[in-house]
């Protein structure tokens, strides 16, 4: 193979403006292609999931007779510990680029330096956001499973305002219930229900609103109670 193949390459220089997607894609490739990223994510996962399940397991013994109040704040604390690990990921993404000399290659490829830095922040931010969200859910459901298997406790039962809810109501409902603690969410849900009724009465918006109506009733009723 000779250099002539370069000329034979049909791809000619496209005179397109720099696209955020290009630079973001490049930064995403960088983040996912170094081992330190995976180590940090593993550490974050072990801390969050391990910590919260241990707390849940430890709580099952003594929580048999009392409402299960203290779990939630502890659970949240454990899910938030990985912030430290994730912070290291963000720092490394920037510092490693400079310490290894890679930055010269990067800036030679994209002279618009702010775009590079923004894309890097975006790639790391998106990854950590999604991963943290995932960790929070896994931790929650695991803790929930442990708690409901011992002594028939469920998180939902602990929430004031829904004493009639039974532990077999299902975990998604419990999660929604947890959200209900937030006044704003509650207000939003009420508004939805109100709109739901209004739509049903009006009948001139058959598609979107009636779907909402038929899809929601059980949960919505439960939440309103």
């Amino acid at each position: 193979m000779t250099a002539l193949d370069i000329a034979a390459d049909p791809q000619s220089a496209p005179r397109l403006p720099v696209r955020a997607r290009d630079v973001l894609g490049s930064e995403w490739t960088k983040v996912r292609s170094v081992r330190s990223t995976y180590w940090i994510l593993i550490i974050a996962a072990v801390t969050a999931i391990g910590g919260s399940t241990i707390i849940a397991a430890a709580s099952t013994g003594r929580a048999g007779h009392s409402p299960f109040e203290p779990l939630e704040p502890v659970f949240i604390a454990w899910v938030e510990y990985p912030v430290l690990a994730v912070g290291i990921l963000g720092v490394l993404a920037f510092t490693a680029e400079y310490s290894t000399g890679q930055i010269r290659t990067t800036f030679a490829a994209v002279p618009q330096r702010r775009a590079v830095l923004a894309a890097k922040a975006g790639a790391v931010g998106l990854l950590t956001l999604c991963f943290s969200e995932l960790l929070a859910f896994i931790s929650f459901f695991l803790s929930q499973a442990i708690v409901s298997n011992h002594g028939g406790l469920s998180l939902a039962r602990c929430f004031p305002g829904c004493p009639e809810r039974r532990h077999d109501d299902g975990l998604p409902a419990a999660e929604l219930g947890r959200l209900r603690h937030h006044k704003q969410v509650e207000r939003d849900i009420r508004r939805l229900q109100h709109r739901d009724r209004w739509c049903h009465a009006g009948e001139h918006q058959p598609n979107g609103c009636s779907n909402l109506h038929s899809g929601q009733p059980r949960d919505a009723r439960g939440l309103a109670s």
Partner: protein
């Protein structure tokens, strides 16, 4: 086309580049020569927008590098073979560069094949030899199929086969009408590769000329001739106006080229065992030119301390 005009670059009290002006034209391999610390790398960094000049301009195809969108389609460069994250695989390194300029995966495979790095693609840069890193850097430079390529000391760490390969690559790229700008501190290296030479010392331009003209102006060069009938050959050469020195079977002939000597010997049925044109003075001419501008003079090593002990 690279145009450097009245370029100055100061780092604090140190002047790295001092009023440099030259033009690198397409279709040629242009060698950028100078001793260590002459300002070669600084000039290249300014051309690539990695440094801002104190004054003056450096344009590629009439535009400053910083203003280019997706510059890899116009300029490919290799400044430092170690400018790669050691924990990343060759493939991912190239892919991240390609993506930033909207270049597809297909092209990444192509440049890996072109540089003979296909087998090394999944391996991490950490384990690469300097020669492999150079090849990876060259692969990155060729990603965008650029019209201008800039290489800083690309032969460092390459084995003889790699050096031969890279010379041929430069010549092919130039033959395709691209601008090829290659720095080196070795005259002998550039004499073989470059058509045109830009020689600097202490940040100033010392020479901007074709290699041929530089060689021609570099004083006398001669031909070493070995022949079993050297005594018969010598008067014939003198008869053609050449100056002949030497003893025994070996003659040092000045004033005639190797072809002329061979033809003359052949006419008279004289066998020639060795015929070597000698351009040792080329290196000397370069040293003479840059001698005064060498940044780091070597001192005479002193052994006194060791002896006293």
């Amino acid at each position: 086309m690279i145009e450097v005009t009245n370029l100055h670059k100061r780092y604090g009290s140190v002047t790295a580049v001092d009023g440099l002006s030259f033009t690198v034209r397409p279709g040629h391999v242009t060698g950028f020569l100078g001793p260590n610390g002459a300002g070669k790398t600084t000039t290249m960094r300014v051309i690539l927008g990695l440094d801002t000049p104190t004054s003056g301009t450096a344009l590629v195809d009439g535009r400053p590098y910083q203003e280019m969108i997706r510059p890899l389609h116009q300029v490919g460069s290799l400044l430092d073979a170690n400018a790669a994250h050691p924990g990343r695989s060759a493939w991912c390194h190239l892919l991240s560069i390609a993506q930033s300029n909207g270049i597809g995966r297909h092209r990444v495979s192509e440049v890996l094949e072109l540089t003979g790095m296909v087998d090394a693609a999944p391996r991490r840069v950490k384990g690469f030899s300097l020669g492999m890193r150079q090849r990876l850097g060259i692969a990155a430079a060729l990603l965008g199929n650029p019209t201008t390529v800039i290489f800083d000391e690309p032969t460092n760490g390459l084995d003889p086969e790699g050096i031969h390969w890279i010379r041929e690559l430069f010549k092919t790229l130039a033959a395709e009408g691209r601008t090829v700008f290659v720095s080196s501190h070795l005259m002998s290296e550039m004499a073989l590769t470059a058509d045109h030479l830009v020689i600097i010392g202490r940040g100033r331009l010392l020479a901007d000329t074709t290699t041929e003209r530089f060689v021609a102006s570099s004083g006398h060069h001669d031909v070493l001739v070995c022949s079993p009938k050297a005594t018969d050959l010598a008067p014939l050469l003198v008869g053609r106006g050449a100056t002949v020195n030497g003893e025994g079977d070996a003659l040092i002939v000045a004033g005639m080229d190797a072809a002329g000597i061979a033809d003359l010997a052949s006419e008279h049925g004289i066998a020639i065992h060795e015929l070597v044109p000698r351009n040792a003075s080329l290196e000397q001419a370069y040293l003479d030119l840059t001698g005064e501008s060498v940044e780091y003079h070597t001192g005479v090593p002193s052994m006194r301390g060791a002896v006293d002990r």
